[in-house]
Symmetry: none
Subunit: 195 residues, 4 copies
DNA sequence: CATGAATGAGCGTTCATTCAT
DNA sequence: GATGAATGAACGCTCATTCAT
């Protein structure tokens, strides 16, 4: 599989694409989704018109951004998940890597939050992000199989966990000194509530 | 009565103010915070310049909107709270009136959600909204005093409950047929988790 | 002559009219002719609509302002002029009282300068202001009758003197310590040049 | 040649820039500094948004306009100055070319007058204009070294000459038939007064 | 008559996208 | 293909003046 070679076809391009993504994260975190494409391009060091060779519209950029960040998060969470022991250990692994990532990448998290509620990110994109996270999603559903939410829509369970995670990350970012303690305590809460 | 008004040439019309607020809710729910002030005015049936007689800037409109909706929610939740029995009954009252209001007023809820994450709504306004909700807030904190989150920042506990409510309301809106069941089940989850 | 009584007919009005004029001087000096009528009214402590009972349009206010300031200046200059001795003494009297007034009333002077070049002040108004200054104007022309400008349009001579005065007042305002010296020296210059 | 331009997609058009400047001169002469940017663009034959490609703000346009006109005037005055003979000849050269330019370019002169008293033209810009005029300025100061104004601030001397020039140009514009005579007579006045 | 809310054309400026070079 | 100038509709907001009260 010459995956590498495929991207070699436009080596400079890939760098530029990433520069635009990174710049967009910085600017959108700072100024919201209203950040001007020209400003994003400028901060990325590319000409404003060139942004549109990589992302035909601003909406395409938003969707790409969403997937990019979501994939980074998922790969962070999935990494090492197989090595975790029982259900509890696995959930803890997910929880800890998720919230630590969020606490350490507050710009990305804020951008993700904005994109998640924007109509400009299509349902298809959100669906794709959701699908990519199937390992964690499955585990969470499995854990919740017997608890208080056992009869709820699995999507609802996921949303509950997600919003709990989001709140936890906010708290960890705001008070880094107690971040680990918050992470652990909320995990216990989650475990108790889901089971 | 109305002595104060006797000397006013043409008092600002409460009706018009409300028409603008209502129009803003409709448009912002549909188009986001980017909804044009001129469009809001038009939908409210007032000339564009008149919007600024009632709200000097768009940001002032946002802040007023936030308080307006928050107060409606709070008064809905507080109504009848004193008549509820023990702690569990009281929490149930809060939970049920909150989520039912949200399910029945999805536009207002979406607008509130957008405003809550917007930098245009000042900290002072958010603080004021928070303060107005002290009855519910106190009860929730009291309930959580002994549970898994007992050592967490009270603000964190509040945020967790809020995000759970938000997710619940989304679910209730999406599937009105099972709304009551979702409401009850999530309450049980909440009760179990907090205590 | 019951001049006093004439104005007694609207005693409160006269105060308000003056308050508007004074406020306009302050605001226009600060912000230029673009100063909003509502701001002028507010600073004067009168309702914005009432400004238009005194001055039907902003342009009328400008014209009134022009005359008001010009008349104050003229009466300052004319005061004591009859008591001055010969031609030289009289010109000195005019020059000194004029430039001292300007140095001490820089706001009024700046407003007058702005109004003088504005198309909103009508030729008729400017003409009236000019006519009211006939005592000084005549003297200046008389002095210049034999000098280097003897064959020029009298209006030109007046303009030259006026612009010299304006520059002198600027200089006196900027450096109050040497104001008197500047006043005297420029008078000598004027005298030498005109004669 | 033009190596620098080879890599530019579409260089800013000097023609368009000049069309905007020219249009601004016409409109500002007619309507004052309040002339609308959209009207200026329209009269220049460019879309309203394009004006801001060349001048980021209206204030930038004002500053560019000031320098543009000032430079034209200075270059007109400086042209041939070296060929003039003694001090008197040189001052005459300055005076004649200055006032003739003003009489022939009354729109530009009026615009320059408006810009000169506007707070929107920065001190830095005015300073730059002043610096560019050093040849004439030096000569005028040199001539005045021994006359009635010898002890005054050189800036004051300059202002006096400038205001005399301005008045002269007004007069020449108004009565073109006697323009030359006015020009000559005022020069004699200036020479007599400064020396 | 006095008041201040009402009005709506007009303002300077922005920006996603296009397209000439 | 890469570039950045070009575009023009849209935006939030202002303000002289009117007029209902």
């Amino acid at each position: 599989m010459n995956l590498e070679r495929l991207s070699v076809a436009r080596p400079k391009s890939e760098e530029r694409r990433q520069a635009i993504i990174d710049s967009a994260i910085r600017l959108i975190a700072r100024e919201g989704l209203g950040a001007a494409t020209a400003a994003i391009a400028k901060e990325a060091g590319v000409p404003n018109g060139s942004l549109f060779t990589y992302f035909p519209t601003k909406i395409d950029l938003f969707n790409a951004l969403y997937m990019e960040i979501k994939e980074e998060l998922i790969s962070t969470v999935d990494d090492g998940l197989s090595d975790a022991g029982d259900e509890r250990e696995q959930l803890l692994h997910i929880w800890a890597s998720w919230t630590r990532w969020g606490a350490a990448n507050s710009e990305k998290r804020r951008v993700l939050a904005q994109l998640s509620v924007s109509d400009d990110v299509t349902e298809a994109t959100k669906e794709a992000g959701f699908t990519a996270a199937y390992r964690s999603v499955s585990l969470i559903r499995q854990v919740a199989r017997h608890g208080a939410l056992r009869d709820q829509d699995p999507a609802f369970v996921g949303a509950v966990v997600e919003s709990l995670a989001s709140t936890t990350m906010d708290c960890m970012s705001r008070d880094p000194k107690h971040a680990e303690q918050v992470c652990t305590a909320t995990f216990e809460f989650l475990w108790k509530a889901l089971r």
